[in-house]
Assembly symmetry: C2
Homo-oligomer: 335 residues x 2
């Protein structure tokens, strides 16, 4: 049974946690600092498919197959799959999960999807609505570029605040007993819109949402940033990360020493030409489900806040003059 803590935080009390996870990635990601940590790498970003969308669909299927291989689970062991992505009508998830025959609940959280799926999944397991839930998401540089920005063939120059959509996916199995870490608390994000309209500066659009959720969590639980080994954000990149630290510092919360961002971790900005860093649903999904989970299993990280951010806009909304609302969902993990 869940218990509300403070204003917005939900505490889970049934030892629900992550049993297994897998993070997979593409070629550019395999040339970055986390290369050795991904569970599978695809040097051909088409994954042998005819379109970029089909390649991204395949990424989700492969992420699930990889976590099944690692854990020994199969589709019949899973009660519910929670998946989502940024392609129109979430087709990476619907087509990616189609062959598994697992009851499916589509999630829409933009780049916060991994945290949202883990958050909802942990409540479903904790409440006994499911024994095991699978959380999955993905992104692909080429499908994202042509949907949200320009076809890659165009070779358009990128703004320095722009981020590079990660080609990658992550999948995690949530359950009870024999978990690598427990999901102790979750905080659901509020839609936060500070009027940013530059779709080449997503970090700035999402940072206020991350600040709001992390601040709420720390207030609700009466804890301090230094109580955690790491406060991990999803894909704020260099610009958004700096803003997040600034915003929280104004409230007297200095997270700078423990804050890390998956968008900064996944690429070496000094030689990979990714400008402000990585982004996309697959960014924190691939990093969290491989690199971070391995650090948890090894005991290097024991007390973790993971807050993934999403920009809740569309091309059509931007063309109609709308600003970019952000959201950030948080989970608190403990070894």
């Amino acid at each position: 049974m869940a218990v509300k803590i403070g204003e917005r935080t939900i505490r889970l009390e049934n030892s629900t946690g992550i049993i297994a996870s897998a993070g997979i990635a593409g070629k550019k990601e395999s040339e970055g600092p986390l290369a050795a940590h991904f569970d599978k790498i695809f040097n051909d970003d088409t994954l042998g498919e005819k379109t970029w969308e089909k390649a991204e669909i395949r990424l989700q299927t492969e992420a699930v197959n990889t976590v099944f291989e690692k854990s020994g689970f199969s589709a019949k062991d899973i009660d519910i799959v929670l998946a989502g992505d940024l392609l129109d009508q979430c087709i990476s998830s619907t087509y990616g999960m189609r062959s598994f025959g697992i009851p499916f609940l589509g999630q829409y959280g933009a780049c916060s999807t991994m945290a949202q799926a883990l958050l909802v999944g942990s409540i479903l397991v904790d409440s006994c609505a499911a024994e095991k839930v699978l959380a999955v998401t993905s992104s692909h540089f080429c499908s994202a570029e042509r949907q949200f920005r320009l076809p890659i063939e165009y070779g358009g120059q990128r703004n320095l605040t722009a981020q590079w959509t990660v080609t990658g996916a992550g999948a995690a199995v949530i359950g009870k007993g024999n978990t690598a870490c427990r999901i102790e608390d979750v905080t659901i994000g509020k839609i936060t819109d500070m009027g940013i309209t530059d779709s080449s500066d997503m970090g700035a659009a999402m940072a206020p949402a991350a600040a709001d959720t992390i601040s709420s969590y720390l207030n609700d639980t009466q804890t301090l940033p230094e109580d955690y080994d790491i406060i991990l954000t999803g894909d704020l990149g260099a610009v958004g990360s700096e803003l997040l630290c600034e915003l929280l510092l104004k409230e007297g919360k200095d997270i700078s020493r423990v804050h890390r961002d998956c968008g900064k971790l996944i690429f070496a900005r000094e030689y990979q030409d990714v400008h402000a860093g990585g982004s996309g649903c697959g960014c924190c999904a691939s990093v969290f489900c491989s690199y971070i989970m391995k650090k948890i299993i090894s005991g290097e990280l024991n007390n973790i806040l993971f807050a993934a951010t999403g920009a809740l806009m569309s091309v059509k909304a931007s063309k109609q003059g709308e600003s970019i609302p952000g959201i950030a969902h948080l989970i608190h993990l403990r070894k």
Copy 2:
């Protein structure tokens, strides 16, 4: 605490249910048989907005405002809002819910979204993760036509199996105590794909998913169609409804006497030129949250299965030769 019944059904045991609801609709819907039942009608389908997308965004905001007016609740009474829609990146929901400041979990279930949001919301409330959850969805004929088919200005001729996207929205507050009806059981849909590729025949694409979920529910609970006052589907329309009855009859389950479909109820096909009937997330949302809920409150309906279907495709997926997967989520309501 939830309990698993049979293979896939989840039984809720904490008297969780629907406290209040509101269904709103546009002009064409106000000329149909359910005109008197909607809680609010907009004779101007622009809702005073400059674009069809902004009009649909406004529909979601209006649905929430209407359920708040009817129930006396306000945003501060709601712990979580679950919302989704069919526009790219679910912008009706993200922009429609932006002003309320309620923790937000985006749902993607295509036209099954109302049932999905009620289903997930009821588990969240039942598990005490939330006291009150708001479930919201919408569709708009003009935003759907130009996104999925042709701009309405083109005046293209419609196939006879085609359905007419409802301009409408629904919102419901889920909680415990003082409920109009309880949500006793829920069954999460599986992605079902029978290879249908005609996007003018969504009913046919979705009927197998509805058959699968309803059949699973009846098997899991060892009940018969005649045990229910109504088995309500979302937007199968005339073609899909006939197929659903046929598919279930093959399994020895005759639902024909108790089956009703929101897509058939909302329009008078004989004089409204809607071909196979209504569709869209707003179809079953507006019908269920107004007409059906009023029949439950009056005592005319006491034992209800509500299974909303969704077609999980996109224009891009169809152009790349993909078939149309369907899904159906079910909730069992009892007065």
